[in-house]
Protein backbone atom coordinates (compact mmCIF):
# COMPACT_ATOMS: atom_id res chain seq x y z
CA UNK A 1 0.00 0.00 0.00
CA UNK A 2 2.95 2.28 0.50
CA UNK A 3 4.40 1.66 -2.92
CA UNK A 4 3.88 3.83 -5.98
CA UNK A 5 5.70 6.88 -7.27
CA UNK A 6 2.80 9.19 -6.61
CA UNK A 7 2.67 7.95 -3.08
CA UNK A 8 3.58 10.53 -0.46
CA UNK A 9 5.40 7.91 1.64
CA UNK A 10 7.59 7.05 -1.32
CA UNK A 11 8.55 10.65 -1.92
CA UNK A 12 9.21 11.18 1.76
CA UNK A 13 11.53 8.21 2.06
CA UNK A 14 13.24 8.87 -1.24
CA UNK A 15 14.05 12.39 -0.09
CA UNK A 16 15.12 11.12 3.31
CA UNK A 17 17.37 8.52 1.69
CA UNK A 18 19.08 10.99 -0.59
CA UNK A 19 19.64 13.37 2.29
CA UNK A 20 21.07 10.62 4.44
CA UNK A 21 23.29 9.28 1.70
CA UNK A 22 24.77 12.68 1.08
CA UNK A 23 25.51 13.22 4.72
CA UNK A 24 26.85 10.03 6.23
CA UNK A 25 25.77 7.05 4.17
CA UNK A 26 23.43 5.77 6.86
CA UNK A 27 21.29 3.90 4.38
CA UNK A 28 24.25 2.05 3.00
CA UNK A 29 24.74 0.54 6.43
CA UNK A 30 22.49 -2.26 7.53
CA UNK A 31 20.65 -0.96 10.57
CA UNK A 32 17.27 -0.85 12.21
CA UNK A 33 16.40 2.35 10.38
CA UNK A 34 17.39 0.92 6.99
CA UNK A 35 15.23 -2.16 7.56
CA UNK A 36 12.40 0.11 8.76
CA UNK A 37 12.71 2.33 5.70
CA UNK A 38 12.89 -0.56 3.26
CA UNK A 39 9.88 -2.19 4.84
CA UNK A 40 7.82 0.73 3.58
CA UNK A 41 9.06 0.46 -0.01
CA UNK A 42 8.81 -3.23 -0.76
CA UNK A 43 12.55 -3.67 -0.08
CA UNK A 44 13.38 -2.14 -3.44
CA UNK A 45 16.16 0.10 -2.20
CA UNK A 46 18.72 -2.52 -1.17
CA UNK A 47 21.95 -2.29 -3.08
CA UNK A 48 24.07 -5.26 -4.17
CA UNK A 49 26.25 -6.33 -1.23
CA UNK A 50 29.43 -6.11 -3.29
CA UNK A 51 30.26 -4.72 -6.71
CA UNK A 52 31.20 -7.00 -9.61
CA UNK A 53 34.40 -5.88 -11.31
CA UNK A 54 36.32 -6.61 -14.46
CA UNK A 55 40.06 -6.82 -13.83
CA UNK A 56 42.21 -3.72 -14.21
CA UNK A 57 45.64 -4.01 -15.88
CA UNK A 58 47.58 -3.81 -12.66
CA UNK A 59 47.19 -4.11 -8.91
CA UNK A 60 49.53 -3.79 -6.00
CA UNK A 61 48.33 -7.10 -4.55
CA UNK A 62 46.34 -9.96 -6.06
CA UNK A 63 44.68 -12.50 -3.78
CA UNK A 64 43.91 -15.69 -5.67
CA UNK A 65 40.88 -17.31 -4.05
CA UNK A 66 37.67 -15.61 -2.98
CA UNK A 67 36.75 -17.77 -0.04
CA UNK A 68 36.71 -16.70 3.57
CA UNK A 69 40.48 -16.74 4.00
CA UNK A 70 41.17 -14.78 0.80
CA UNK A 71 38.55 -12.14 1.50
CA UNK A 72 39.64 -11.82 5.12
CA UNK A 73 43.23 -11.32 3.94
CA UNK A 74 42.14 -8.53 1.60
CA UNK A 75 39.97 -6.99 4.31
CA UNK A 76 42.73 -6.88 6.94
CA UNK A 77 45.20 -5.51 4.36
CA UNK A 78 42.79 -2.63 3.86
CA UNK A 79 41.83 -2.20 7.49
CA UNK A 80 45.18 -2.70 9.23
CA UNK A 81 47.56 -1.44 6.54
CA UNK A 82 45.48 0.96 4.45
CA UNK A 83 46.17 -0.89 1.19
CA UNK A 84 43.16 -0.96 -1.13
CA UNK A 85 44.79 -1.48 -4.53
CA UNK A 86 43.89 -5.16 -4.28
CA UNK A 87 42.06 -7.63 -6.49
CA UNK A 88 40.49 -10.78 -5.08
CA UNK A 89 40.08 -13.20 -7.98
CA UNK A 90 37.86 -16.22 -7.72
CA UNK A 91 37.38 -18.94 -10.32
CA UNK A 92 33.81 -19.69 -9.24
CA UNK A 93 31.71 -17.46 -7.05
CA UNK A 94 32.33 -15.90 -3.64
CA UNK A 95 32.10 -18.45 -0.85
CA UNK A 96 31.25 -21.29 -3.25
CA UNK A 97 34.16 -23.47 -2.20
CA UNK A 98 34.93 -24.78 1.25
CA UNK A 99 33.57 -21.62 2.92
CA UNK A 100 30.12 -22.74 1.85
CA UNK A 101 30.71 -26.43 2.50
CA UNK A 102 31.89 -26.69 6.09
CA UNK A 103 30.01 -27.44 9.31
CA UNK A 104 30.52 -23.88 10.63
CA UNK A 105 32.18 -24.82 13.90
CA UNK A 106 34.30 -22.25 15.73
CA UNK A 107 36.61 -23.33 18.56
CA UNK A 108 40.16 -22.78 19.74
CA UNK A 109 40.81 -25.65 22.14
CA UNK A 110 44.10 -26.66 20.56
CA UNK A 111 47.12 -28.21 22.18
CA UNK A 112 50.14 -26.37 20.80
CA UNK A 113 50.98 -22.76 21.57
CA UNK A 114 51.32 -21.79 17.91
CA UNK A 115 47.91 -23.21 16.99
CA UNK A 116 46.25 -21.68 20.04
CA UNK A 117 47.74 -18.32 19.03
CA UNK A 118 46.06 -18.16 15.64
CA UNK A 119 42.81 -20.01 16.44
CA UNK A 120 42.17 -18.04 19.62
CA UNK A 121 42.86 -14.77 17.80
CA UNK A 122 40.35 -15.94 15.26
CA UNK A 123 37.68 -16.85 17.79
CA UNK A 124 38.23 -13.52 19.50
CA UNK A 125 37.77 -11.64 16.21
CA UNK A 126 34.62 -13.65 15.43
CA UNK A 127 33.00 -12.35 18.63
CA UNK A 128 32.71 -8.81 17.30
CA UNK A 129 32.81 -9.54 13.58
CA UNK A 130 29.12 -8.87 12.94
CA UNK A 131 29.44 -5.34 14.33
CA UNK A 132 32.78 -4.76 12.63
CA UNK A 133 31.55 -5.82 9.20
CA UNK A 134 28.04 -4.43 9.71
CA UNK A 135 26.84 -7.81 8.50
CA UNK A 136 25.11 -10.37 10.67
CA UNK A 137 27.33 -13.44 10.56
CA UNK A 138 25.05 -15.04 13.18
CA UNK A 139 27.94 -15.91 15.47
CA UNK A 140 26.47 -18.14 18.10
CA UNK A 141 28.83 -19.00 20.99
CA UNK A 142 26.72 -21.96 22.02
CA UNK A 143 29.60 -24.02 23.38
CA UNK A 144 31.66 -26.85 21.92
CA UNK A 145 31.84 -30.19 23.66
CA UNK A 146 34.60 -32.62 22.68
CA UNK A 147 33.69 -36.05 23.96
CA UNK A 148 36.17 -38.50 25.41
CA UNK A 149 35.03 -42.04 24.73
CA UNK A 150 38.22 -43.95 25.48
CA UNK A 151 40.68 -43.72 28.38
CA UNK A 152 43.38 -42.50 26.00
CA UNK A 153 41.21 -39.76 24.67
CA UNK A 154 40.33 -38.68 28.19
CA UNK A 155 44.00 -38.40 29.05
CA UNK A 156 44.77 -36.49 25.85
CA UNK A 157 41.91 -34.06 26.43
CA UNK A 158 43.03 -33.45 30.01
CA UNK A 159 46.42 -32.52 28.62
CA UNK A 160 44.77 -30.17 26.13
CA UNK A 161 42.72 -28.54 28.86
CA UNK A 162 45.92 -27.82 30.84
CA UNK A 163 47.59 -26.41 27.71
CA UNK A 164 44.53 -24.22 27.16
CA UNK A 165 44.65 -22.98 30.74
CA UNK A 166 48.31 -22.01 30.40
CA UNK A 167 47.56 -20.12 27.18
CA UNK A 168 44.46 -18.39 28.46
CA UNK A 169 41.85 -20.28 26.45
CA UNK A 170 38.63 -20.68 28.38
CA UNK A 171 38.01 -24.46 28.45
CA UNK A 172 37.47 -27.05 31.16
CA UNK A 173 36.99 -30.79 31.58
CA UNK A 174 33.47 -31.88 32.46
CA UNK A 175 32.24 -35.17 33.94
CA UNK A 176 29.85 -37.58 32.18
CA UNK A 177 26.98 -36.30 34.35
CA UNK A 178 27.69 -32.73 33.34
CA UNK A 179 27.82 -33.86 29.71
CA UNK A 180 24.37 -35.38 30.12
CA UNK A 181 23.18 -32.09 31.61
CA UNK A 182 24.58 -30.06 28.69
CA UNK A 183 23.31 -32.48 26.04
CA UNK A 184 20.29 -34.38 27.37
CA UNK A 185 19.89 -36.44 24.17
CA UNK A 186 23.28 -38.09 24.56
CA UNK A 187 23.73 -41.71 25.58
CA UNK A 188 26.64 -41.68 28.05
CA UNK A 189 26.52 -45.35 29.04
CA UNK A 190 27.80 -46.96 25.90
CA UNK A 191 28.20 -49.95 25.86
CA UNK A 192 30.61 -49.60 22.95
CA UNK A 193 31.37 -45.91 23.32
CA UNK A 194 30.72 -44.77 26.91
CA UNK A 195 31.26 -41.06 27.55
CA UNK A 196 34.07 -40.77 30.11
CA UNK A 197 34.21 -36.98 30.12
CA UNK A 198 34.49 -34.08 27.74
CA UNK A 199 36.44 -30.93 27.02
CA UNK A 200 33.99 -28.03 27.15
CA UNK A 201 34.68 -24.71 25.48
CA UNK A 202 31.71 -22.49 26.34
CA UNK A 203 32.87 -19.66 24.06
CA UNK A 204 33.10 -21.87 20.99
CA UNK A 205 30.13 -22.28 18.72
CA UNK A 206 28.97 -21.72 15.19
CA UNK A 207 28.42 -18.91 12.69
CA UNK A 208 26.63 -18.59 9.39
CA UNK A 209 29.39 -19.65 6.98
CA UNK A 210 28.10 -17.90 3.83
CA UNK A 211 27.55 -14.69 5.76
CA UNK A 212 31.20 -14.64 6.80
CA UNK A 213 32.27 -14.65 3.14
CA UNK A 214 29.54 -12.22 2.11
CA UNK A 215 30.25 -9.87 5.01
CA UNK A 216 33.95 -9.72 4.19
CA UNK A 217 33.20 -9.32 0.47
CA UNK A 218 30.83 -6.43 1.15
CA UNK A 219 33.32 -4.66 3.40
CA UNK A 220 36.16 -5.26 0.91
CA UNK A 221 34.01 -3.79 -1.85
CA UNK A 222 33.31 -0.84 0.44
CA UNK A 223 37.06 -0.26 0.80
CA UNK A 224 37.40 -0.19 -3.00
CA UNK A 225 38.92 -3.65 -3.37
CA UNK A 226 38.00 -5.31 -6.68
CA UNK A 227 36.23 -8.63 -6.32
CA UNK A 228 36.47 -10.49 -9.61
CA UNK A 229 34.41 -13.65 -9.88
CA UNK A 230 34.41 -16.27 -12.67
CA UNK A 231 38.11 -15.58 -13.23
CA UNK A 232 40.43 -18.57 -13.06
CA UNK A 233 44.20 -18.33 -12.84
CA UNK A 234 45.75 -20.31 -15.68
CA UNK A 235 49.33 -19.16 -15.45
CA UNK A 236 51.83 -17.35 -13.25
CA UNK A 237 54.18 -14.74 -14.73
CA UNK A 238 57.65 -14.61 -13.24
CA UNK A 239 60.75 -12.59 -14.05
CA UNK A 240 63.97 -13.97 -12.58
CA UNK A 241 62.11 -15.84 -9.83
CA UNK A 242 60.12 -12.73 -8.95
CA UNK A 243 56.40 -12.57 -9.46
CA UNK A 244 55.12 -10.01 -11.96
CA UNK A 245 51.53 -11.08 -12.45
CA UNK A 246 49.04 -13.80 -13.20
CA UNK A 247 47.45 -15.06 -16.41
CA UNK A 248 43.73 -15.52 -15.99
CA UNK A 249 40.70 -16.47 -18.05
CA UNK A 250 39.94 -12.74 -18.08
CA UNK A 251 43.38 -11.79 -19.34
CA UNK A 252 46.76 -10.88 -17.93
CA UNK A 253 46.87 -8.97 -14.62
CA UNK A 254 50.08 -7.44 -13.35
CA UNK A 255 50.86 -7.32 -9.64
CA UNK A 256 53.74 -6.60 -7.28
CA UNK A 257 52.62 -9.23 -4.80
CA UNK A 258 50.41 -12.27 -5.19
CA UNK A 259 48.97 -14.54 -2.49
CA UNK A 260 47.46 -17.95 -3.21
CA UNK A 261 44.58 -18.76 -0.87
CA UNK A 262 43.03 -21.64 -2.76
CA UNK A 263 42.61 -24.43 -0.19
CA UNK A 264 42.25 -27.76 -2.03
CA UNK A 265 43.51 -26.34 -5.31
CA UNK A 266 46.72 -24.83 -3.89
CA UNK A 267 48.91 -27.56 -5.40
CA UNK A 268 47.64 -26.72 -8.89
CA UNK A 269 48.49 -23.03 -8.47
CA UNK A 270 51.87 -23.93 -7.00
CA UNK A 271 52.48 -26.14 -10.02
CA UNK A 272 51.81 -23.14 -12.30
CA UNK A 273 54.33 -21.13 -10.26
CA UNK A 274 56.90 -23.91 -10.58
CA UNK A 275 57.11 -25.51 -7.16
CA UNK A 276 55.44 -28.32 -5.22
CA UNK A 277 53.73 -28.20 -1.86
CA UNK A 278 53.65 -30.69 1.02
CA UNK A 279 49.92 -31.01 0.48
CA UNK A 280 47.45 -33.67 -0.61
CA UNK A 281 43.84 -32.92 -1.54
CA UNK A 282 40.99 -35.13 -0.42
CA UNK A 283 37.22 -34.84 -0.34
CA UNK A 284 35.66 -34.23 3.05
CA UNK A 285 31.93 -34.65 3.48
CA UNK A 286 29.12 -33.31 5.58
CA UNK A 287 25.38 -33.82 5.59
CA UNK A 288 22.23 -32.41 7.14
CA UNK A 289 19.15 -34.20 8.36
CA UNK A 290 15.60 -33.13 7.72
CA UNK A 291 14.69 -30.13 9.92
CA UNK A 292 13.28 -30.94 13.34
CA UNK A 293 12.43 -29.05 16.56
CA UNK A 294 15.42 -27.99 18.70
CA UNK A 295 17.04 -30.99 20.39
CA UNK A 296 20.63 -29.89 20.86
CA UNK A 297 21.87 -26.39 21.72
CA UNK A 298 25.62 -26.82 21.47
CA UNK A 299 28.20 -28.44 19.20
CA UNK A 300 29.25 -31.99 20.03
CA UNK A 301 32.37 -33.53 18.57
CA UNK A 302 33.00 -37.22 19.00
CA UNK A 303 36.50 -38.15 17.90
CA UNK A 304 36.26 -41.85 18.60
CA UNK A 305 33.04 -42.42 16.70
CA UNK A 306 34.30 -40.09 14.00
CA UNK A 307 31.59 -37.46 13.69
CA UNK A 308 30.36 -34.11 14.90
CA UNK A 309 26.92 -32.73 15.36
CA UNK A 310 25.11 -29.45 15.84
CA UNK A 311 21.68 -28.10 14.99
CA UNK A 312 21.26 -25.22 12.56
CA UNK A 313 18.79 -22.40 13.05
CA UNK A 314 16.62 -24.03 10.40
CA UNK A 315 16.41 -27.14 12.58
CA UNK A 316 18.56 -29.42 10.46
CA UNK A 317 21.15 -31.50 12.27
CA UNK A 318 24.49 -30.62 10.72
CA UNK A 319 26.71 -33.68 10.72
CA UNK A 320 30.33 -33.69 9.66
CA UNK A 321 32.09 -36.87 8.87
CA UNK A 322 35.29 -38.40 7.70
CA UNK A 323 37.51 -37.57 4.77
CA UNK A 324 38.11 -39.95 1.90
CA UNK A 325 41.09 -42.21 2.29
CA UNK A 326 42.61 -41.27 -1.05
CA UNK A 327 43.41 -38.10 -3.03
CA UNK A 328 40.67 -36.69 -5.18
CA UNK A 329 39.08 -33.49 -6.46
CA UNK A 330 35.63 -34.95 -6.95
CA UNK A 331 33.77 -32.67 -4.45
CA UNK A 332 31.50 -35.62 -3.69
CA UNK A 333 33.10 -38.05 -1.30
CA UNK A 334 32.40 -41.74 -1.08
CA UNK A 335 29.18 -43.08 0.33
CA UNK A 336 30.75 -45.47 2.79
CA UNK A 337 32.07 -42.56 4.85
CA UNK A 338 28.58 -41.17 5.37
CA UNK A 339 27.47 -44.57 6.53
CA UNK A 340 30.43 -44.82 8.88
CA UNK A 341 29.73 -41.43 10.43
CA UNK A 342 26.01 -41.86 10.85
CA UNK A 343 26.27 -45.42 12.14
CA UNK A 344 28.58 -44.28 14.91
CA UNK A 345 26.62 -41.14 15.81
CA UNK A 346 23.41 -43.13 16.19
CA UNK A 347 25.09 -45.07 19.01
CA UNK A 348 25.88 -41.88 20.89
CA UNK A 349 22.60 -40.12 19.98
CA UNK A 350 19.93 -42.86 19.71
CA UNK A 351 17.26 -40.19 19.21
CA UNK A 352 18.50 -39.43 15.68
CA UNK A 353 18.14 -42.99 14.42
CA UNK A 354 14.84 -42.36 12.59
CA UNK A 355 15.92 -39.10 10.91
CA UNK A 356 16.33 -38.92 7.18
CA UNK A 357 19.20 -37.30 5.38
CA UNK A 358 18.23 -34.15 3.52
CA UNK A 359 21.43 -33.16 1.76
CA UNK A 360 25.00 -34.34 1.49
CA UNK A 361 27.95 -32.55 -0.03
CA UNK A 362 31.74 -32.61 -0.22
CA UNK A 363 34.58 -30.13 -0.34
CA UNK A 364 38.20 -30.53 -1.32
CA UNK A 365 40.44 -30.05 1.68
CA UNK A 366 44.18 -29.49 1.59
CA UNK A 367 45.92 -31.78 4.03
CA UNK A 368 49.48 -31.18 5.21
CA UNK A 369 51.70 -33.81 6.78
CA UNK A 370 51.16 -32.49 10.32
CA UNK A 371 47.54 -31.36 9.80
CA UNK A 372 48.51 -27.76 10.58
CA UNK A 373 48.21 -24.91 8.07
CA UNK A 374 50.82 -23.21 5.93
CA UNK A 375 51.07 -19.40 5.96
CA UNK A 376 54.33 -18.75 4.26
CA UNK A 377 56.58 -17.14 1.73
CA UNK A 378 57.34 -19.34 -1.27
CA UNK A 379 60.41 -20.00 -3.44
CA UNK A 380 59.09 -17.27 -5.77
CA UNK A 381 59.83 -13.71 -4.65
CA UNK A 382 56.67 -11.71 -3.97
CA UNK A 383 54.48 -14.81 -3.97
CA UNK A 384 52.87 -15.82 -0.69
CA UNK A 385 50.69 -18.75 0.21
CA UNK A 386 47.99 -19.50 2.75
CA UNK A 387 46.80 -23.10 2.62
CA UNK A 388 46.81 -26.43 4.38
CA UNK A 389 43.90 -25.68 6.70
CA UNK A 390 42.67 -29.15 5.91
CA UNK A 391 39.49 -30.10 7.68
CA UNK A 392 39.28 -27.09 9.99
CA UNK A 393 39.69 -23.82 8.12
CA UNK A 394 36.38 -22.08 8.78
CA UNK A 395 37.07 -21.36 12.45
CA UNK A 396 40.37 -19.75 11.48
CA UNK A 397 39.14 -17.31 8.85
CA UNK A 398 39.58 -13.97 10.70
CA UNK A 399 42.87 -14.94 12.38
CA UNK A 400 44.28 -16.41 9.20
CA UNK A 401 43.35 -13.30 7.22
CA UNK A 402 44.89 -11.11 9.91
CA UNK A 403 48.17 -13.08 9.94
CA UNK A 404 48.37 -13.36 6.13
CA UNK A 405 47.74 -9.64 5.67
CA UNK A 406 50.55 -8.94 8.12
CA UNK A 407 52.87 -11.26 6.18
CA UNK A 408 52.02 -9.76 2.79
CA UNK A 409 52.45 -6.20 4.03
CA UNK A 410 55.76 -6.78 5.83
CA UNK A 411 56.92 -9.33 3.26
CA UNK A 412 57.73 -11.49 6.26
CA UNK A 413 55.48 -13.56 8.51
CA UNK A 414 54.69 -11.99 11.86
CA UNK A 415 54.35 -13.64 15.25
CA UNK A 416 51.07 -15.40 14.44
CA UNK A 417 52.14 -16.78 11.06
CA UNK A 418 55.83 -17.58 11.52
CA UNK A 419 55.39 -21.05 13.08
CA UNK A 420 53.41 -22.08 9.98
CA UNK A 421 56.07 -21.60 7.30
CA UNK A 422 56.70 -24.29 4.68
CA UNK A 423 60.27 -24.63 6.01
CA UNK A 424 59.00 -26.46 9.06
CA UNK A 425 58.72 -29.69 7.07
CA UNK A 426 62.32 -29.44 5.94
CA UNK A 427 63.56 -28.39 9.36
CA UNK A 428 61.56 -31.07 11.15
CA UNK A 429 59.73 -28.69 13.49
CA UNK A 430 56.26 -30.04 12.78
CA UNK A 431 53.35 -28.69 14.78
CA UNK A 432 52.15 -31.87 16.41
CA UNK A 433 48.52 -30.92 16.70
CA UNK A 434 46.55 -33.97 17.65
CA UNK A 435 43.50 -31.78 18.14
CA UNK A 436 43.86 -30.09 14.75
CA UNK A 437 41.06 -32.14 13.33
CA UNK A 438 38.11 -32.86 15.57
CA UNK A 439 38.08 -36.35 14.19
CA UNK A 440 41.21 -38.23 13.22
CA UNK A 441 41.38 -37.66 9.47
Amino acid sequence: MFYGKSNLWYIFFELAKQGLIRENKILKRYSFSSIFTEAFRDNLGWEKAWAKHQPKKEYQIIIVGGGGHGLATAYYLAKNYNITDIAVIEKGWIGGGNTGRNTTIIRSNYLQESSIGIYEKSRFLYETLSQELNYNIMFSPRGVLMLCQTEHELRAMKRTSHANKINGVDTKMVTPDEVKEIVPIINIDGPRFPVLGALWQPRGGTARHDAVAWGYARKCSDYGIDIIEQCEVIGVKKKREKIVGVETTKGHIKAKKVCFVAAGHSSILADLAGFRLPIESVALQALVSEPIKPIIDCVVMANTVHGYLSQSDKGELVIGGGADGYNNYSQRGSFLHIEETVRALVETFPVISRLRQLRQWGGIVDMTGDRSPIISKTPVDGLFINCGWGTGGFKAIPGSGWATAEMIHNENPGKLASPFSIDRFLEGRLIDESAAAAVAH
Binding site: H265, S330, G369
Partner: protein
Amino acid sequence: MLYLFCPTCQRDCDETELSCGGQAHLIRRDHASNDKDFYKYLYERKNDKGIIFERWRHVYGCGKWFHTARCTITNQVFGSYSAKEVQPPKSILANIRRSRVDFKGWVK
Protein backbone atom coordinates in the same frame (compact mmCIF):
# COMPACT_ATOMS: atom_id res chain seq x y z
CA MET B 1 32.77 -46.86 -3.95
CA LEU B 2 36.04 -47.59 -5.71
CA TYR B 3 36.64 -51.05 -7.15
CA LEU B 4 40.29 -51.81 -7.79
CA PHE B 5 41.91 -54.91 -9.23
CA CYS B 6 44.42 -56.62 -6.97
CA PRO B 7 47.17 -58.10 -9.19
CA THR B 8 48.15 -60.59 -6.48
CA CYS B 9 44.67 -61.97 -5.75
CA GLN B 10 43.72 -61.56 -9.42
CA ARG B 11 40.29 -60.16 -8.51
CA ASP B 12 38.42 -56.88 -7.99
CA CYS B 13 38.18 -55.63 -4.45
CA ASP B 14 36.19 -52.70 -3.06
CA GLU B 15 37.42 -49.62 -1.24
CA THR B 16 36.71 -51.04 2.23
CA GLU B 17 39.24 -53.83 1.71
CA LEU B 18 41.96 -51.44 0.66
CA SER B 19 44.17 -48.77 2.08
CA CYS B 20 45.66 -46.00 -0.02
CA GLY B 21 49.39 -45.40 0.23
CA GLY B 22 49.56 -42.14 -1.71
CA GLN B 23 51.68 -41.08 -4.67
CA ALA B 24 53.53 -43.93 -6.38
CA HIS B 25 57.09 -44.09 -7.69
CA LEU B 26 58.58 -41.79 -5.04
CA ILE B 27 62.32 -41.99 -4.88
CA ARG B 28 64.01 -42.53 -1.54
CA ARG B 29 67.63 -41.49 -1.76
CA ASP B 30 70.40 -43.21 0.18
CA HIS B 31 72.32 -42.03 3.23
CA ALA B 32 74.46 -39.65 1.24
CA SER B 33 71.42 -37.53 0.35
CA ASN B 34 70.55 -34.22 1.99
CA ASP B 35 67.60 -32.91 3.99
CA LYS B 36 65.94 -31.52 0.88
CA ASP B 37 65.82 -34.98 -0.73
CA PHE B 38 64.35 -36.46 2.41
CA TYR B 39 61.76 -33.66 2.60
CA LYS B 40 60.77 -34.39 -0.99
CA TYR B 41 60.40 -38.06 -0.26
CA LEU B 42 58.42 -37.54 2.94
CA TYR B 43 56.15 -34.59 2.18
CA GLU B 44 56.34 -33.00 -1.26
CA ARG B 45 53.58 -34.32 -3.53
CA LYS B 46 52.41 -33.71 -7.08
CA ASN B 47 48.78 -33.78 -5.95
CA ASP B 48 47.59 -33.61 -9.55
CA LYS B 49 44.05 -32.82 -10.60
CA GLY B 50 43.63 -35.45 -13.29
CA ILE B 51 45.49 -38.70 -13.85
CA ILE B 52 47.57 -39.93 -10.93
CA PHE B 53 49.54 -43.06 -10.16
CA GLU B 54 49.22 -44.25 -6.61
CA ARG B 55 49.97 -47.09 -4.23
CA TRP B 56 47.28 -49.22 -2.64
CA ARG B 57 47.48 -52.08 -0.18
CA HIS B 58 45.04 -54.94 -0.05
CA VAL B 59 44.87 -54.81 3.77
CA TYR B 60 41.84 -57.04 4.31
CA GLY B 61 43.02 -59.51 1.68
CA CYS B 62 46.47 -60.63 0.67
CA GLY B 63 48.12 -57.67 2.43
CA LYS B 64 50.24 -56.95 -0.64
CA TRP B 65 50.92 -53.56 -2.25
CA PHE B 66 50.05 -52.69 -5.83
CA HIS B 67 49.93 -49.65 -8.10
CA THR B 68 46.89 -48.05 -9.71
CA ALA B 69 46.25 -45.32 -12.29
CA ARG B 70 43.20 -43.21 -11.47
CA CYS B 71 41.65 -39.87 -12.40
CA THR B 72 41.21 -37.67 -9.31
CA ILE B 73 38.30 -35.72 -10.82
CA THR B 74 36.06 -38.55 -12.01
CA ASN B 75 37.61 -41.42 -10.02
CA GLN B 76 37.83 -43.41 -13.25
CA VAL B 77 40.34 -46.25 -12.80
CA PHE B 78 42.72 -47.21 -15.60
CA GLY B 79 44.01 -50.47 -14.21
CA SER B 80 46.39 -51.89 -11.65
CA TYR B 81 49.98 -53.06 -11.98
CA SER B 82 52.61 -54.69 -9.84
CA ALA B 83 54.25 -52.83 -6.95
CA LYS B 84 57.61 -53.92 -8.37
CA GLU B 85 57.30 -51.58 -11.35
CA VAL B 86 59.44 -48.44 -11.05
CA GLN B 87 57.29 -46.58 -13.56
CA PRO B 88 53.84 -47.09 -15.11
CA PRO B 89 53.88 -49.88 -17.75
CA LYS B 90 53.05 -49.09 -21.38
CA SER B 91 49.78 -51.02 -21.28
CA ILE B 92 48.42 -48.74 -18.52
CA LEU B 93 49.53 -45.58 -20.34
CA ALA B 94 47.85 -46.83 -23.52
CA ASN B 95 44.73 -47.52 -21.54
CA ILE B 96 44.70 -43.93 -20.26
CA ARG B 97 45.29 -42.49 -23.75
CA ARG B 98 42.31 -44.40 -25.07
CA SER B 99 39.93 -42.25 -23.01
CA ARG B 100 42.10 -39.15 -22.46
CA VAL B 101 43.54 -37.95 -25.75
CA ASP B 102 45.30 -35.00 -24.12
CA PHE B 103 47.14 -37.17 -21.57
CA LYS B 104 50.77 -36.11 -21.61
CA GLY B 105 52.28 -39.18 -20.00
CA TRP B 106 53.85 -39.90 -16.68
CA VAL B 107 55.99 -37.19 -15.08
CA LYS B 108 58.44 -38.03 -12.35
